[in-house]
Symmetry: C2
Subunit: 339 residues, 2 copies
């Protein structure tokens, strides 16, 4: 995984992580104040129409900045906005329809660009709408939560919840770029920051012991929003994710390792009702459950453990075995990298 650090005189550093997927490759830009660097976005917006999708929480904070960044070097750009209600419970077909309708009413053509400004929910809705509007239009991610910056904005998974299922309808659809302005985290509630850190910890656990150790040693700096620690955690998490996505974009095998703790996590999240437990919190509980089962099985190897949370019963042993096989393959297929 190649990353680069570009220092431009008089400006902040920009870290670039490349997601290598042949003709679908794209950069993840990470840095402080990147919403003030319109040249980063203008490289990736080729048409003259853009649709910004955001939510009621994010709009007052960053919508104007995002619009300015999109229009500054592209003065002929016509721009429309969809402001969705905030919350996982709105990650549904109705929200996707709202995005389609706004695009149609604005007369957006095949060369338009959909831009997600917000957390994972906004990115998922906007990305899935982009994958389906006119059989696929350009798409840019501007994630504003730590969770979406370290995880969900990278790798192209988009989707909505449908009836009983989380992310049951969706597409693997890669953005043209991901722009992470770490200043957006200044407005993030502590609980949401901690939830995102859980996904960063997952990255360390599944792929990079040294990064896991680094997270252990720097957890206070992350919680205190130290800009250098935050930028490094985003960079390293994105590198790990990009490396795995490059090997298995469509999740036919190894990419499933990134779901570590998620089977149990999703079950817990659903049983608590969406919005009561944050995604990262559920994943953290899920991961700790995996370790608890591992320890129990060391003591009582023949035990079969079932977990029931949503009506579906999961056999813990089977899940663990699959996870272990994937972990083994992850380290065989891509050498562990130095931090």
């Amino acid at each position: 995984m190649k990353s680069s650090l570009i220092c431009v005189a008089g400006t902040e550093e920009i870290i670039t992580v490349n997601v290598d997927l042949g003709c679908r490759s794209y950069p993840v830009y990470v840095g402080s104040g990147l919403l003030n660097r319109p040249e980063l976005l203008s490289r990736h917006v080729h048409g003259k129409q853009a649709l910004v999708v955001t939510n009621t929480t994010i709009a007052p904070l960053f919508l104007d900045k995002a619009i300015k960044a999109l229009q500054q070097e592209n003065t002929e750009m016509t721009l429309e906005t969809v402001i969705l209600p905030d919350g996982e419970q709105f990650k549904n077909m109705e929200s996707v329809i709202k995005v389609f309708d706004a695009a149609i009413e604005a007369g957006m053509d095949r060369r338009c660009t959909f831009v997600a400004v917000g957390g994972g929910v906004v990115g998922d809705i906007c990305g899935y709408a982009a994958s389906s509007y006119m059989r696929g239009v350009n798409f840019i991610q501007i994630p504003t939560t730590f969770m979406s910056q370290v995880d969900s904005s990278v790798g192209g998974k988009t989707g909505i919840n449908y009836r009983v299922g989380k992310n049951l309808i969706g597409a693997i659809y890669q953005p043209k770029c991901v722009l992470v302005d770490t200043n957006t985290l200044n407005y993030l509630p502590n609980r949401e920051l901690a939830s995102g850190i859980a996904e960063a910890i997952k990255c360390g656990l599944v792929k990079d012991g040294k990064y896991f150790e680094w997270l252990e040693n720097n957890i206070q700096a992350l919680l205190a929003r130290d800009p250098i620690a935050i930028a490094y955690a985003i960079k390293r998490s994105c590198e790990i994710k990009a490396g795995i996505v490059t090997l298995d974009e469509k999740e036919n095998g190894i990419r499933a390792i990134l779901n570590f703790g998620h089977t149990f996590g999703h079950a817990i999240e659903t049983s608590c009702g969406y919005g009561n437990l944050l995604h990262g919190e559920a994943v953290a509980v899920g991961m700790s459950f995996v370790f608890w089962v591992e320890v129990v099985l060391l003591i009582v190897p023949d035990l079969t453990i079932f977990i029931t949370a949503t009506g579906d019963t999961i056999e813990a042993n089977e899940e663990l075995q699959e996870g272990e096989e994937l972990l083994e393959r992850a380290n065989l297929e891509e050498g562990e990298e130095q931090v």
Copy 2:
């Protein structure tokens, strides 16, 4: 474009046209009685669950045969069916939702296969649903109309009509295989056969003068459903389409040549109301309009011609110029092939 002819002792010939798209490559099987050859389908169905999507016209004719073909070599296969109402007016989000609901109710997982048995409308709905269900599941096309056999089942374009727009929502999503049993045409109304022939003529016009001549000379044989003529027209049309799709899967350039006559055709089709004019009939009118404009412009070169059919006004001259540029590129980028 490589095609092959396989003769198996005691059975009919199978023509195979390969659509070369790297890891998304797939075969188009063409022949008489191929629904009686379950080994062709079983090569491409890897999971143990299949969802057959068809309509009320096609179900009494071919559903049992298709189910038998899917289950014969895969006896553990669980199979569900969605029978949609017949007609372009049902190519909408409600039909896609019906497919999702059937898949969810049957507990279909990521390894399931969606199978479209019908014409272009069924293929479009089923294909788009397959592209979005669990972020994309396997998909097989069994086209039963001449239109879908020579054109719409190949190349991965899927989509539904949405509000004012034809195919406004959809995906480019390739099937795992296309199985064309030419016996299905025995039940096709003459008007629909003629509509399909219009798309075959378009293939000749845009890419292969010799094939166009062949169509001129064999039009009576095609209308009389001569099996050899029918099979050859399907083969050659699929080869031409596959060759162009290989160069430009996502229609960023040259693939637009396959829309020859379609800008005007769609306008006429929409203004007549869906279902009153068949797609191929509209395309035929559209193509003949293009030639009429060409002739008029030879006589009065400075004339600017506008056509208004659906409220949108199309400038004919601009359309023609774009079409001519594409035609030139089509012949530069892929050498003309021998029939």
